[in-house]
Symmetry: C2
Subunit: 145 residues, 2 copies
């Protein structure tokens, strides 16, 4: 499963995208409220995202977070990558250091298929595509819809 901080990050980015489409630039408090995460922790996560240039931020009065050009086609994989690394896409499901097709663990094939499937999903889905589903009413971001 994805780390909690990664989940917060994805939810936050989707929310920011939705607000950006409304020409708004949400701040930490609004974002934290919407994604149901602690304010201070959300701030840390947003800081990480901006530091890695996945997101833009504006300080001072009227400031907040917004995507800059090219940033919103960010894939979910990109978010996972900066939040928790991508070892979950490489590591053996059995925990073996040296597991490969020449020297497979007993779960190598099946696990590999599943893992690659997940990789395809997170590579093809983007903050943009997820946000669109919500805007079109085909998905929700929290319990309030």
């Amino acid at each position: 499963m994805l780390a909690k901080s990664t989940q917060y990050a994805i939810r936050a980015l989707v929310f920011i995208q939705l607000r950006n489409w409304e020409k708004q630039r949400p701040g930490v408090e609004e974002i934290a409220r919407e994604i149901e995460a602690p304010v201070a922790y959300s701030a840390k996560i947003l800081q990480t995202l901006t530091r890695h240039r996945l997101l833009g931020s504006v300080k001072g009065r009227g400031g907040g977070f917004a995507f800059e050009e090219m940033q919103s086609e960010l894939s979910i994989y990109g978010v996972i990558h900066v939040m928790e690394g991508d070892s979950c896409f490489h590591n053996c499901g059995f925990g073996l250091k040296s597991c490969n097709s020449a020297n497979p663990c007993p779960l190598h094939e099946e696990y590999g298929v599943m893992r690659d499937g997940f990789f395809d999903i997170v590579k093809s889905e983007t903050i943009h595509s997820l946000s669109k589903k919500i805007q079109d009413g085909n998905a929700v971001l929290n319990r309030f819809g």
Copy 2:
């Protein structure tokens, strides 16, 4: 990904199965060495497994661990269940408390497919089936084969 303790548990059980087929009953030290895990920690894990009756143990001289009748058809799911619970088969990949087909998160469909696929694997594969792959030379348990 599976917890480290779950991975150790599965590897340990497979090794025990292989040794049992050779009419042997390995002890903690031998098991730990083979699965490349700390001895004391392996002991803890084996204790958990026997306490939950997934495995038999014999104390004292010449003692060790062995499957009793019916125990070796144990599914991988069964091991996961006692080692770390099964929340990973239920929780939303997006981290939403209330995500379901009526109120789906933007990843609900795709994530569900993957998660169910993983569930099918761990439900159908057993300690016995994994051990057999190794015995048949179609898989390895550690870097030495």
